[in-house]
């Protein structure tokens, strides 16, 4: 079973990198979102540095919503989803493996790009480190919550926007704790650890809930 899951993971990662740039587009989108913020708020560096963690988090959140609808839809179109459904391996495990692959190809590049983009926003080194750490811990939660939306939108021809609308309200806690931990690391007297542990908890919880709900959705929609 481990070998099969590793094969699913390797296949999805390979597909993501060979077809259409994979994580690259997400990072470019992230860069574009960060770039337009100074145009909107003005070239006031102290202000931009103050809202920097929030900008990084919003950019990462939007970028991670971008490719969600393709996680299962591509497999649905070429028929490989049917093969995955009839394998003896639990669909929950396959969904989890696909989620991990999606995080490696879209979430991880965002985390890697975050310090560079943070420099553009004039963040202090401490804030940079905190923002990167919270993104590293928080983006899996975004991916695994998004997995549910991806499964629900699998049969829809234009599911992209709908998936984003369904998932965005559910990601609010992650955004709140992510930005709170980052600002706590720099300015607030509050400890960094509490919100950071809460995002870690949310990530772990969504790692359990996401694949179960996604597998249930895939099975239900196939009936």
């Amino acid at each position: 079973m481990i070998a099969a899951l590793r094969a699913v993971l390797a296949r999805d990662v390979t597909l993501a990198f060979r077809v259409g740039g994979g994580g690259g587009i997400g990072v470019v989108f992230f860069l574009a979102v960060v770039t337009i913020v100074p145009f909107a708020v003005g070239p006031d560096l102290p202000l931009i540095a103050r809202i920097g963690p929030a900008v990084l988090w919003i950019g990462a959140l939007l970028a991670s919503l971008l490719g969600l609808d393709r996680i299962f839809a591509a497999d649905h179109e070429d028929g490989s989803l049917d093969l995955l459904l009839i394998t003896p391996i639990p669909l929950e495990a396959i969904a989890a493996a696909k989620g991990v692959a999606h995080w490696i190809t879209t979430g991880l590049p965002l985390v890697v790009a975050a310090p560079l983009l943070g420099l553009l926003l004039g963040l202090e080194p401490q804030a940079l480190a905190a923002a990167t750490a919270t993104l590293l811990v928080g983006t899996p939660a975004l991916t695994f919550l998004g997995l549910i939306g991806a499964a629900l939108g699998v049969a829809m021809p234009r599911g992209g926007l709908l998936v984003a609308v369904l998932i965005l309200p559910l990601t609010i806690p992650i955004l709140i704790f992510g930005v709170a931990a980052t600002t706590a690391a720099v300015t607030d007297p509050l400890p960094f650890g509490t919100p950071f542990k809460l995002i870690a908890a949310l990530s772990l919880a969504s790692f359990v809930l996401g694949p179960i709900a996604a597998a249930a959705a895939l099975r239900q929609l196939r009936d």
């Binding site: 549910i148 709908l162 609308v165 309200p169 559910l170 609010i172 806690p173 249930a216 959705a217 239900q220």
Partner: protein
């Protein structure tokens, strides 16, 4: 009577026919009484006449939350027991719950303007109701996105349950977020206990709102059953034309 008996749409429709006018009448009487009592209640010593908005605002919030809980229970019925009326109940409750949620937000904004000087403040409570409204809109969008009613019902069931698990987390995180940024909030945690003169109209209008919700919900369920019948008759008719 067991819930299983209601699985027969005929029996349900007969029951709905009996209950809808009764519930509507109860709602009309209670709301009329609440309206009169609400205007005869003394103005609040701090908030003056605007406190009367509470008689609409608070019951609307209760119904918005209650409707979501009803949807969550119904969708559990869809997924676990495959009760044929469960997804009809969930579908019928969604737009009504969303409407009460919007009513709560709008009356809250109208109440906030004279009290806080702004239509909208990013208070924890307001924000979590707004997020609930967003979740309602997402559920409504998903109902419309999938054509087959059975398939749509099962997809929405999963989303509703995931949302139901998430609502307490959202509520907690939003509370946390707000107390973090505005320690000296204008809103007191407990607030003064409500005087009986204001509590009585509130309870009566809340009961009226509850009866109104049930009447609207049963009517919407009846309409949905009939709509599905029309749909299947149309499909049969189309198949007949095809066969000829």
């Amino acid at each position: 009577m067991a819930l299983l008996d209601l699985a027969n749409p005929h029996r349900f429709l007969a029951l709905a026919r009996a209950f809808i006018p009764t519930l509507a009448l109860i709602a009309a009487v209670l709301l009329a009484l609440g309206l009169v009592l609400g205007f005869r209640a003394p103005p609040d010593y701090q908030q003056g006449e605007t406190v009367r908005i509470m008689f609409i605002h608070v019951p609307a919030a209760w119904i918005a939350l209650g409707a979501y809980s009803l949807m969550a229970i119904s969708t559990l019925g869809t997924l676990v027991w495959r009760h044929p009326l469960a997804d009809v109940a969930a579908k019928a409750a969604a737009p009504i719950g969303a409407a009460f949620c919007l009513l709560c937000l709008v009356t809250g904004a109208l109440w906030g303007r004279p009290m806080w000087g702004a239509y909208w403040v990013w208070d924890a409570r307001l924000t979590s109701v707004l997020v609930l409204f967003l979740i309602y809109l997402g559920i409504l969008a998903l109902w419309r996105a999938i054509e087959d009613p059975g398939q749509a019902g099962r997809a929405v069931a999963i989303l509703t349950l995931v949302g139901f698990l998430n609502v307490p987390i959202i509520k907690f995180s939003v509370d946390w977020w707000n107390t973090l940024h505005q320690p000296a909030s204008v809103f007191r945690a407990g607030g003064p206990t409500i005087h009986p003169a204001l509590l009585t109209p509130l309870v009566i209008t809340a009961a009226g709102f509850g009866a109104l919700f049930l009447a609207l919900h049963l009517a919407a369920m009846r309409n949905e059953i009939l709509r599905r019948r029309v749909r299947s008759l149309r499909l049969i008719a189309a198949a007949d034309v095809e066969a000829r």
